[in-house]
Symmetry: C2
Subunit: 127 residues, 2 copies
């Protein structure tokens, strides 16, 4: 059991609740954020390029993340039927807008990087 539901029997439509949560879970995903960033920086990119640009991602997670983003309309996938295969990925306007929405978070991370490092070490030292 997670937690007993909040005592006031949820004011919001549970279907909307579920959708928002699902969306948050999707959008807040580490790999989605990272792929989004490299596509904003790099424009139209191919599978392998994206993989190289996202540090630590596996091919499995890359395909999975790209498919999800395509399904949500964040990017388009264009297959050129040649050999060897050539597939282009490009952000849609929706994907771009999400990237812009995340700008604040990137800036926050850069700004407070050092402060967090220090805080962590202090915390670990006291335990």
């Amino acid at each position: 059991m997670p937690f007993p539901a909040a005592t006031p029997p949820d004011v919001l439509d549970p279907r909307i609740e579920a959708l928002v949560n699902d969306l948050i879970g999707r959008v807040a995903d580490k790999w989605t954020m990272l792929v989004l960033e490299v596509l904003i920086a790099g424009g139209i990119m191919r599978f392998t390029r994206i993989g190289e640009a996202v540090p630590g991602i596996s091919q499995k997670m890359l395909t999975q993340t790209l498919r999800q983003m395509e399904r949500d309309g964040l990017l388009t996938r264009t297959v050129h039927p040649v050999v060897p295969p050539h597939v282009d990925y490009a952000l849609t306007d929706l994907g771009m807008s999400l990237g812009e929405a995340f700008c604040g978070v990137w800036e926050w991370a850069e700004t407070h990087l050092e402060r967090i490092e220090a805080t962590r070490q202090a915390f670990d030292a006291r335990k």
Copy 2:
């Protein structure tokens, strides 16, 4: 092996790289985002209240998420030595600033909810 490293031998200090990635992984975490939101909305809150306000979280993940956020200096944990136990959680200014940085993302999610739903169904129908 994930992917071969980018051919130009990483221009950035790998330690900074690692830190940024770690931070993104932390901050982009679903539960962190959700806990952050309820604490912004609710101010100082106790363990059980937060659990009720975050739909679907387990006690295990709640303690884990709260500990991480404390370690990163996003919130403070105050124990009142009484029985039954009473523990207060409150965002720090750092936590608040992260919440503000995320505002754009929340708005984006609300704004584009329906559009994404439609896009998904179209995608699923064509497969």
